[in-house]
Amino acid sequence: MTDDMILDLQGLSKAYGEAVALDQIDLDIRRGEFLTFLGPSGSGKTTTLNLIAGFIDPTTGSMLLNGKPIEKLRAHERNFGVVFQHYALFPHMTVADNVEYPLKQRKVPKAKRKEQVKQALEMVRLSQYADRFPKQLSGGQQQRVALARAVVYRPPILLMDEPLGALDKKLREWLQLELRRIHRELGSTFIYVTHDQEEALVLSDRIAVFNEGRIEQIGTSHELYDQPKTLFVGKFIGESSVFKGTLHDGVVSAQGLRLAGRGDIPNGPAAVLVRPEKLEVSEPSGSQLSESVANRVPGAIDDIVYLGSSVKYNVTTEIGDAVVRVPVERAVDAKIGDSVLVGWATENAVLLVDDEK
């Protein structure tokens, strides 16, 4: 436990009878960071958030806030902020009353309450709606009120459970930027749950990838994208091509091909993971692959998608489907159905244990 750590989760698990929702996770949360819990539904990310918030009790493990255990504290004693997916604004109170509610619970003097409510509403840019009822606002506005309400009392940690999940794409993108701004302004610790990996990449300082009740990997967006530690993380974050085979003495054999990538893993079932921009595709003649591209897999073009600045090729091979993205000026002269080679330089691919059933 160091000074820059705010919350320390140790051996935390939650079981519902036989079903294990969360399986012995350890996690250090740093002061002031924007940490995202990313994972598919049922992976344990929301369970972890609810445990931190105090909405459910852990089966085992402990939670230390600045070194002090909090798992015995009830939700209303923890002094964290929580933003819910469906806003959870009190429908019988105005916007201002909603934001004032936590301050009233804390017996803040009236004059100070009014001032803090005003500031919080200014922060989310909704001052002119103070006297409206939540029902009279749009979804995005309601979520901003919920955010103001959750931060008006300056909680050390703000917990958010898919707060943008109910909003449309454009609004979501704008609110992501707003969240980043508010995080910078407040300087408090944000913990954010989402299943949307793009959202996680945009928002987070660090991302914890959850799968089946465990944390697979925790790191910066860049680390997770460039150096995934498991096949699950590699496939969940960003686009990738995965070629499967058997590893022996640093070489993956698959259908008579010999492939390689970075990383040190035990012999056995293995996967080579390559990002679309690190993969090259040849012309039907087989030319146009760089010399450094030592690993080559034959396949057939399944689809070509023009994306403006780049062109995406979906190539089917016998050992896995490949996605190649090349800048538009380096597009190859090929059409759907053509036989081509896809290839990569060894240092541009990651070797991972193939643990998929």
């Binding site: 964290f80 009190f90 979804g139």
Partner: protein, 271 residues
Amino acid sequence: MNDIRPLTKFILGIGAVIVAIWLIAPMFIVFPISFSSDASFQFPPREWSTRWYESFFNNQQWMRALGNSAVIALLSAIVATAIGTLAALAINRSESKFAHWAQTLMLTPMIVPPIIAGAGIYTFFLNSGLVGTLFGFVMVHVCLAIPLVVIAVNASLSGYDRSLELAAASLGANRVKTFFQVTVPLIAPGVAAGAVFAFVTSFDEVIVSQFMVSPALQTLPMMMYNSVTRTTDPTIAAAAALILAAVILAFFFFQFVVTPLARRSRERVGD
């Protein structure tokens, strides 16, 4: 082509009016009869007077019965509303598979024929000396009214978002504060409806009360029932008119105060 043709609409309208008159008119006949000057149920009355109202308000027995009924109905409504509301909340929140059995059990007083319930209660109350007591009346009427409260509160809970309670907790409110500051205001319309139903149920209860009355404790509906079976004293018409007026007032209260409130809170909850 789902629009109703004007002629069909017209015929339906006439039908509806006939049914409405058929249902409601007999009730309103007590108003003119209560203002008759004859000592019989002559309709239409030959002459008008308020003598039966005078008779009603000057007769100690009638007045005491009215007072008893009002007190019993008020107490029953308060107790039934408190218990019924808590029961509805508990059933609504329970994750136990027995919750819906509990719900069915709560509703049995509506299903069991009152005459049977009355006989059973009489046997029990006779042994415990509760016949003809205020406490006994209130207990019985509470039983009869609880199902109505449970149904009304349950309806208001169907649109109630429980994450509001988690939100209140996260904002620093304990369970008790959350209940009174968040839960109660939002289910208030259902609770009020339940209270009105409970009051009316108790106020006009005759069948079970028949087993309960004693010369010392008469309720208004029982007095009326006895009066109409033994005499042709139109004082009963005055009493009936007063009850009907009270019920109509309660209905208007429900229609123009409770329902708009409920609609407003629903609109706020909705997306």
